[in-house]
């Protein structure tokens, strides 16, 4: 960094010498929550902080984490996608079913194309026709679910000869002891993080979400940016579906049900605003990890999975409330 950058930061320091605790908590509060939670859970269980458990959690969160990266783009751009859960089911079913027909490689391509197509359709409705993304994708949630059900006839689909294919590696394999889904998640995190913070596209995304009108007045092609976020989210959902399919070597209609809720909660919990224009991939990672460790911790403490739904309800409301309240400077509207 150049010398003038230094003077700038000096300027800033001199203007606010006192450490502002409220500001720190506002900025990094989520990290404190995360640490407290980990300490709390590890005090109550023995195996929580072991390396194996850590890897297990990472593997568990990787699918949702990948889609959360797409959803982060979506929310920064100021839109929503509620159809990702259904899309996970659809792509998982497609990849499994086509595996035995066309082979694993073609099956993966088909699943990815399906994810991109559905995303493009959503993006067309929201970006070009300017429809409300919440309701459109809410409708699409059911349309996709129904298509999946029609496709499978409500049956499980599975790969018949599981020993004879490399396909299971994606979901089950390890490289240097690290599960492959975690590696894929890591790669996507890096790509998405870098694109968001280093590229023109990332800047445009923040602008479009932050102020669509001013973006238009700066010559930014808002329609195409919005359109692209849906394609990207569709793509991440497809990758998630493929990994899930590979891990289970089978799929069924309700595989991804409720994912949209977990994913939006994670992204918002990380601190990405529902109003668009702010957020980041590292924040999303933290949100995803908190939810992942929470769910793992709950299970280790002997709670059934659905207890977590209730906790997540509170977390979602709490996280959004904090965001809304900090925007308006008051707790209550």
């Amino acid at each position: 960094m150049g010398s003038s950058v230094k003077t700038e930061s000096n300027l800033k320091d001199s203007s606010s010498k006192k450490i502002n605790f409220a500001e720190i908590i506002k900025r990094h509060g989520i990290l404190f929550v995360f640490l407290l939670m980990i300490i709390g859970i590890s005090l109550r269980t023995d195996s929580f902080l072991t390396q194996n458990n850590m890897l297990l959690v990472l593997r568990q969160v990787s699918v949702k984490g990948i889609i959360a990266c797409g959803m982060t783009y979506m929310l920064i751009g100021g839109e929503f996608d509620l159809s990702v859960g259904s899309l996970v089911s659809l792509t998982a079913v497609l990849v499994i079913d086509f595996h035995d027909i066309l082979g694993p490689f073609a099956a993966i391509i088909i699943a990815i194309l399906a994810g991109i197509s559905v995303g493009a359709f959503n993006g067309f409705l929201v970006g070009f026709l300017k429809l409300n993304s919440l309701i459109v994708t809410f409708g699409m949630l059911f349309v996709i679910q129904a298509l999946t059900l029609l496709y499978t006839g409500g049956q499980y689909v599975s790969v018949s000869n599981q020993g004879a294919t490399w396909f299971s590696i994606i979901g089950r394999g390890f490289i240097f002891g690290i599960p492959i889904p975690v590696i894929i998640f890591g790669i996507i995190l890096i790509i998405f993080g870098v694109v968001l913070s280093k590229t023109v596209y990332g800047r445009y995304l923040y602008s479009v979400g932050g102020n669509p009108i001013a973006s238009k007045f700066s010559g930014i092609p808002k329609t195409y940016i919005t359109f692209s976020t849906f394609i990207i989210t569709g793509l991440t959902a497809a990758i998630g579906g493929i990994i899930l399919g590979s891990r289970l070597m089978s799929a069924q209609n309700y595989l991804g049900q409720g994912y949209e809720f977990d994913i939006i909660t994670a992204v918002v919990l990380g601190g990405t605003s529902l109003f668009g224009g702010s957020g980041s991939i590292p924040k999303t990672l933290i949100g995803v990890l908190i939810l992942g460790f929470l769910s793992n911790g709950f299970i280790m403490m002997g709670f059934p999975y659905y207890v977590q739904w209730v906790v997540q309800w509170a977390i979602l409301i709490g996280a959004v409330w904090m965001d809304v309240a900090s925007k308006r400077g008051k707790i209550l509207a």
Partner: protein, 508 residues
């Protein structure tokens, strides 16, 4: 009650917002049975004054005397309860509900079972409508009424209690001429009934048609209190937008014969209801002023040239090549920059950093394979921060924390760094402190000297006259005059922007 009794007096009202003095010792009074017009350009302080009156803002200094007593209303509802009704340009009506319901919205009459007394509601509404001589039924849906009639509903709503003052804020903005006539008849009727009327507008012909007295505001200051019968449109316009020539505005201008090659040519550009058959051109190194009052279609024209609006017909040429109208993305590629009128809504991504905003247009050319060249971006930032003297603690500062003047500089820098061929500036100095204003004026001349074609839109006469080589006047969506700097006088321009025939006007 006496005819010329002052029912409302606002004395020495000053209102400061952080960094801006919106009102500076303004006096305003209304008498019973008079229509008192409040005029001024955008940002002159008309709305702020009325917000102070209704209690939305409390004045920093000064007092309000209403019916002989000092008052401070708690808000529009409180004001209404005490007889002061404000009718906004954007009507506060529910389209889906009936006239009667809208009149009594929030206070629907109920019968003894707690159900809405529709009969009574309609009867009482009918009475009110008859008092205003309205020819529509209380049972009609408001969404089905013309705007003029909707305004009458709003007035009728005010009459559910005793009303002493009715404030009309730009009431004719969306009215047809026929509807305007109806409105004026109704205003006259209210006046005859002894109601005091405050009429806010920037349309001069209406003001002469309807008002008894006029108070003129400019930049938060009161510049005149006139009897309508004793003044004319030219004097009024001069009070609204004229100003003593500031020292720094004494620039050297280009004459008729020093003009460079053509940069932009607009041919027959029309958009229904906004502007009609506009043709002009701007040349290299020329500052073209576009002068007109609010509503003349200036901003819309500029937005169309830049491409955020589409036109019905007409062509735009940049350096001889026709460009597609309505594609802002392409315009930026071609080197057109646009500093819009509304900084916060149209100009800036408020939640992002100064750096992000400054480089927002440039980054399309400042990348390799989509990756922003961070170091070069930083250099450009430092260059322009230095050149324009943008005061910010850091490049990472959120732009919303900057002062208005510095925000404007960021937007200017955003366009300057793409090395534009054409720069359009829409009201570049509105709401900006005097010092920064002078800087921006100097900058405009400097840009022209560097060969950029600059289109400056402004409703401030001295600004237009001070910086432009050539000036176009616009009135009612049409170009009404063209003047070179050496031949432009305030008188000539005012004729152009008020649409008055030559010779009918003498500026005092």
């Amino acid at each position: 009650m006496k005819e010329n009794e002052c029912i409302l007096e606002m004395r020495n009202i000053t209102k400061t917002f952080p960094g801006v003095k919106a009102l500076d010792k303004v006096n305003f009074e209304v008498k019973k049975g008079e229509v008192h017009a409040l005029v001024g350009e955008n940002g002159a302080g008309k709305s702020t004054l009325m917000k102070v009156l209704s209690g939305i803002h409390s004045p920093s200094e000064g007092e309000i005397i209403y019916q002989g007593k000092k008052v401070e209303f708690a808000g529009p509802l409180d004001a209404k309860a005490k007889g002061v009704v404000l009718i906004h340009q954007e009507l506060s009506l529910v389209d889906e509900m009936t006239v009667a319901e809208n009149i009594f919205l929030g206070d629907l009459p109920r019968n003894k079972f707690g159900f809405i007394d529709w009969k009574g509601l309609n009867k009482r509404s009918k009475e009110l409508l008859e008092r205003l001589e309205c020819e529509f039924e209380p049972t009609e849906l408001v969404g089905r009424l013309s705007i003029a009639r909707q305004q009458m509903v709003e007035i009728a709503r005010g009459l559910t209690q005793d009303v002493n003052i009715v404030v009309f804020d730009e009431p004719t903005a969306s009215l047809t001429q026929e509807e305007e006539k109806v409105l004026f008849e109704n205003i006259n009727r209210l006046r005859e009934q002894g109601t005091a009327i405050v009429y806010i507008s920037h349309r001069l012909n209406e003001i002469f048609q309807i008002s008894d007295r006029i108070t003129v505001l400019r930049d938060g200051e009161m510049t005149g209190l006139l009897n309508t019968a004793e003044t004319n449109e030219c004097e009024l316009t001069s009070l609204m937008i004229g100003r003593d020539l500031e020292d720094h505005l004494d620039f050297e201008k280009r004459g008729r014969d020093e003009i460079g090659k053509e940069v932009l040519k607009v041919e027959g550009l029309s958009k229904d209801g906004l502007f009609n058959d506009i043709s002009f051109s701007i040349h290299e190194g020329e500052v073209l002023g576009l002068s007109g009052l609010v509503g003349a279609g200036r901003s819309e024209l500029a937005e169309t040239i830049f491409g955020v609006r589409k036109a019905d017909s007409g062509k735009i040429f940049l350096e001889g090549d026709e460009i597609k109208v309505g594609d802002a993305n392409k315009s930026v590629d071609l080197g057109i920059g646009f500093v819009p009128e509304n900084r916060k809504e149209q100009g800036l991504i408020l939640g992002r950093s100064v750096l992000d905003n400054l480089s927002l247009a440039k980054i399309r050319n400042l990348n390799r394979y989509g990756f922003i060249k961070g170091r070069e971006e930083k250099l450009i930032y430092q260059d322009y921060q230095d050149k324009l003297d943008i005061k910010t603690p850091s490049s990472k500062q959120q732009v919303k924390n900057l002062s208005g003047g510095n925000q404007q500089k960021v937007i200017m820098a955003k366009w300057l760094c793409i090395n534009p061929k054409l720069l359009i500036l829409d009201e570049p100095t509105v709401g900006i402190d005097v010092g920064t204003k002078a800087e921006i004026h100097k900058l405009i001349r400097k840009l022209a000297a560097a060969g950029i074609a600059v289109l400056v839109i402004s409703s401030e006469m001295p600004e237009v006259m001070g910086v432009s080589d050539r000036i176009l006047t616009m009135y009612h969506g049409e170009i009404t005059g063209e003047f070179y700097a050496e031949e432009a006088t305030e008188e000539k321009l005012i004729k152009g922007i008020t649409g008055i025939e030559a010779g009918a006007c003498k500026v005092g």
